[in-house]
Symmetry: C2
Subunit: 236 residues, 2 copies
């Protein structure tokens, strides 16, 4: 049976302006790969309602799981929760369980001000995602997991979500470093790839100290087959 599929949706002008380097996608990718969920697409869109709604609807219809990061804080530019509600065509309002969780952050109840209460706005029917770092929860609705953009919080939320996901057969990989330019080894590499159509074989060139080399990576769910291919790659 094919592995479950997933997409990542990163929401944030700061990624698109170059101000911030997105690292949440890479963290998600590593976690999903380990449990056999195939991350098949990453999209980054701006803090723009139409773009967010369109991307959420395109991705949730095409993949088994969609993970989002960004835009669920207390400030005026945090519009993700409302956009998710709009994408699903459902209501959104402050929810008592989310408000109660937020309230544990503050000894003075007045500190849970109107803007902070924005973080308790949860689309109807969603379940909350635990946030051990800063309390304000993420949420899951159907196959969409809505999480924070701050990397430490994103990681903590994803750690809450991972045990609930049903993985597939983890894709194993072996990497063989070759200190030759890709063009020298592309022929024999293509032959090995043709002999093993069920093994994904990629060549990732690098430049180190002015010299070209390549990491040859073979990927398969079949450990024995991978060992055979790795041995062949080692003779290139």
């Amino acid at each position: 049976m094919a592995n479950p599929t997933a997409a990542m949706l990163v929401i944030g002008d700061e990624i698109l302006s170059g101000r911030t380097q997105d690292t949440n996608s890479n963290h998600l990718a590593k976690n999903l790969t380990e449990i056999g969920i195939d991350l098949q697409e990453i999209r980054v869109v701006a803090d723009d309602p139409a773009q967010i709604v369109n991307a959420v609807n395109a991705l949730r219809g095409s993949f088994d799981h969609v993970f989002t990061s960004g835009g669920i804080g207390p400030t005026h530019d945090d519009i993700t929760a409302d956009c998710i509600a709009k994408a699903f065509g459902i209501g959104i309002d402050i929810r008592e369980d989310a408000r109660a969780i937020l309230a544990t952050n503050y000894t003075n109840p007045a500190d849970l001000n109107g803007m902070r209460l924005r973080m308790a706005r949860i689309p109807d029917g969603a379940s909350l995602i635990d946030n051990p770092v800063s309390k304000a929860p993420g949420f899951q609705i159907e196959n969409v997991y809505v999480m924070a953009g701050v990397p430490t919080v994103f990681k903590a939320m994803l750690a809450s979500v991972m045990p609930k996901l049903t993985g597939g057969t983890p894709l194993l990989s072996v990497s063989v470093r070759v200190d030759q330019p890709e063009g020298n080894i592309a022929g024999p590499l293509a032959k090995i790839a043709a002999q093993h159509p069920d093994v994904g074989i990629g060549s990732y060139p690098f430049i180190q100290d002015g010299r070209f080399g390549s990491n040859l990576v073979a990927r398969s769910t079949d450990k024995a087959l991978l060992d055979i291919v790795a041995a062949k790659l080692g003779t290139i």
Copy 2:
């Protein structure tokens, strides 16, 4: 007049598996922001012909410029050039000018082997993008710029392309660091944002040494207006 728009298409299983952290998008974003081209979307797709062709066609129809990275080397898994040709519905073959450029890499003509010649396969009518690092050219066809995935080569190719792009009005930004949690300042921040609907104001929270803070970023093409907003943000 609105600024030109752009999208980035990153092609590569290694990004989606988490093996490699994409940094080319961030480099592109910074360069485009400086000259007033608005990067509005980033997509990462796998080394899969259908996904690449669909993404190229979706993006080139929606944005003024599309920049791609990855998949133009000599190995069997380098399928980007063929997918671009397919997306445009045009032919692709080894081209003499590209072959001549590649040939300058090798004193022994036999080194320009069949696999290396894959890098001289250029879609009909494309113009070449200079690659001062490793010679193998990228190419431009209509509004799509096809470049390498290796960051040093991507950067060199982009440097060849940038002078040919017509920018818009650069979006300027100011950043004000506030050592308070977002929830404390979200109210006054929303008021400033409401007073200046033409200025994009974002709040980017961070956690440093266990304490919450936020970088408030205002973006506008109008320097004088930006100074006014920055002064207000400084009083938060």
